[in-house]
């Protein structure tokens, strides 16, 4: 699945970086994001695969990032 959204830092459950869409859709990379993409508001094009998981963060849809680039 390809998505074009923004990188956002979420200050909850200890803090993490997620991908937030203008429509409110939320994607949480299970392996985190590369350091160079941990920038608040950065617009990105991401190819992801949805994974069904359980964790402590409980924010949005867990995804595996297959590729990511700046939009």
């Amino acid at each position: 699945m390809n998505i074009t959204d923004h990188i956002r830092y979420q200050d909850l459950e200890g803090g993490f970086w997620g991908i937030l869409g203008d429509d409110g859709s939320k994607y949480l990379p299970v392996d985190g994001l590369p350091e160079s993409f941990k920038k608040e508001g950065l617009s990105v094009e991401v190819k992801v695969e949805i994974v069904h998981m359980i964790g402590t963060v409980m924010w949005g849809q867990y995804v595996k990032v297959l590729s990511i680039s700046s939009a």
Partner: protein, 495 residues
């Protein structure tokens, strides 16, 4: 680019053909360099990573130099240096190949996957052995301590190991075997994130009873009437200590503020920190002149134990979470606190079965509503029947912006979940936000209620929380907020 390269090399060769012997040498060298550069660029584009690209390149250079050496040797020209360089190139190739194979084998180990396969009540693993052998899959019982009479579903669950290549086909084959297989699901891994420190929120604590030095940073105590509850708890005695099980990343059982009430368990180490934070909120020793306060007045009402469902790298499985629930039931937990979850319209069957098993065995299961600002019915395990689902409020007692709503589910309740101070491994303290924080606050209250009145069942416990809870502006979407003082007094009145 390719066309330009080919034309350039062709031009060089044509010029070299008509050039004198002296002029030909640099032209041929330039052609060689161009070919080498083109080959390198081609390899780096063709391969997904650097290692296989360089390996292929060194192999081709080595073979090429061997040809050149052979050609020179045939024309009685000095060939040894070329042969020597070619040999080095091939040796480098062999070394890189070895490294590549090692990396590949490491990658392959990451590609193993496990399935949770539930057989029918009267079926045995032998009946699906043929399918398992066909895909080279191994197996073991997921919950060997659970017998058929204890739970008809969980006792028949097996962990089947395979590789990602075979996963889909094996799954289809097992699902097609409707005579023997009731359910198949992937034993998914779990992701976690590192904790960070937050700002502190000082509050006025004039006149409060507790001597815990950090109580002035715990706004939640005032919000849930915990100070008043402490005054009451000072005057009564528990029937027995209630056991609160924290299913999480483990708990630092040696932390100064929980050590004396912590029941040693395999989960008494917490590298990540999330589980320790939850444990402190549920049962940190109160009025001990150390750290924070919880509802566990002088450590008399609650003992805390930990079940490590998630590993130190923040990864776990459906099976490990279900196993942790079953372990807590085995150890007679009164309350099972689960600050974890994931987006899913329905819970994985194995976890749902484990929670149902816990409820049948008299445990009260308290779970987080989730942090996606959506309906918790799309979040598991909050959508499992019978659990108390906890949302979060901020200091203004409004729904926390991130909190899921919970009133579409049967047992909604809410508690503070923003800037909540609690334990951090290594004797430290940290503020965190999330429904993970509001959940153990409720679990601690339920623990105190059951220590004063062990006969209370899950339904009665929830009814007390609901009836004594404070109605807030957002209660329509997140339920009432717990009132510790009123709930504890009501539990005692029901004895």
């Amino acid at each position: 680019m390719l066309l330009t390269g080919i034309l350039t090399i062709s031009a060089f060769l044509l010029i070299a053909r008509g050039a004198t012997k002296r002029e030909r040498s640099p032209l041929l060298m330039a052609t060689g360099i161009l070919l080498l550069a083109g080959s390198a660029i081609g390899h780096f584009f063709a391969y997904s990573s650097l290692l296989p690209a360089i390996t292929a390149l060194t192999a081709e250079i080595g073979v090429g130099l061997f040809f050149v050496a052979g050609f020179l040797s045939r024309h009685n020209r000095p060939a040894r240096p070329i042969f020597f360089v070619g040999s080095i190139s091939l040796a480098v190739c062999v070394i890189l190949l070895g490294i590549g194979r090692f990396s590949l084998s490491t990658d392959e180990s990451h590609e193993s996957v496990t399935l949770l396969v539930e057989l029918g009540p009267d079926d045995s693993i032998d009946e699906i052995e043929e399918i398992l052998e066909q895909f080279g899959a191994g197996y073991e019982r997921a919950f060997p301590a659970i017998t058929l009479t204890m739970d008809i579903d969980l006792s028949q669950v097996y962990i089947v190991s395979t590789t990602t290549d075979n996963e889909l086909r094996l799954r289809r084959a097992l699902e097609a075997d409707v005579e023997n297989v009731d359910h198949v699901e992937v034993n998914e891994p779990v992701g976690l994130y590192e904790p960070i420190s937050k700002r502190s929120v000082d509050i006025d604590i004039e006149g409060v009873l507790e001597n815990d030095p950090l109580v002035n940073r715990q706004w939640a105590l005032q919000a849930i009437d915990a100070h008043k509850a402490h005054e009451y708890l000072k005057t009564v005695e528990p029937v027995r200590k209630a056991k609160v099980a924290i299913i999480d990343t483990g708990v630092d059982g040696g932390h100064e503020d929980i050590r004396s009430v912590f029941v040693s368990s395999p989960g008494n180490i917490d590298v990540h920190g999330h589980g320790s934070h939850c444990a402190g909120l549920a049962g940190a020793v109160t009025n001990n002149a150390i750290g924070i306060a919880s509802l566990n007045w002088e450590g008399k009402y609650i003992e805390v134990t930990a079940y490590k469902a998630l590993n130190d790298q923040g990864m776990g499985t459906i099976e490990s979470i279900a196993q942790a629930v079953l372990d807590a039931v085995r150890d007679d937990a009164d309350v099972i606190s689960m600050s974890l979850g994931g987006k899913s319209p329905e819970a994985p069957k194995t976890i749902a079965d484990a929670i149902r098993f816990a409820i049948r065995n008299d445990a009260v299961v308290v779970v987080s509503a989730g942090n996606s600002n959506e309906d918790a019915r799309y979040h598991m395990p909050s959508n499992v029947e019978g659990v108390i689902v906890v949302s979060a409020v901020d200091q203004e007692l409004r729904k926390a912006s991130f909190s899921n709503t919970n009133t579409s589910l049967a047992r909604p309740i809410t508690a503070p979940g923003v800037n909540i101070l609690s334990l951090q491994p290594g004797g430290r303290y940290i503020e965190m936000s999330g429904t993970s924080m509001s959940t153990p606050i409720v679990s601690g209250l339920v623990g105190v209620m059951r220590s004063l009145n062990p006969e209370l069942n899950a339904e009665q416990v929830y009814n007390v929380l609901q009836e004594t809870g404070k109605t807030l502006k957002d209660s329509r979407s997140i339920g009432r907020m717990i009132n510790a003082s009123s709930a504890i007094e009501a539990a005692v009145a029901m004895r």
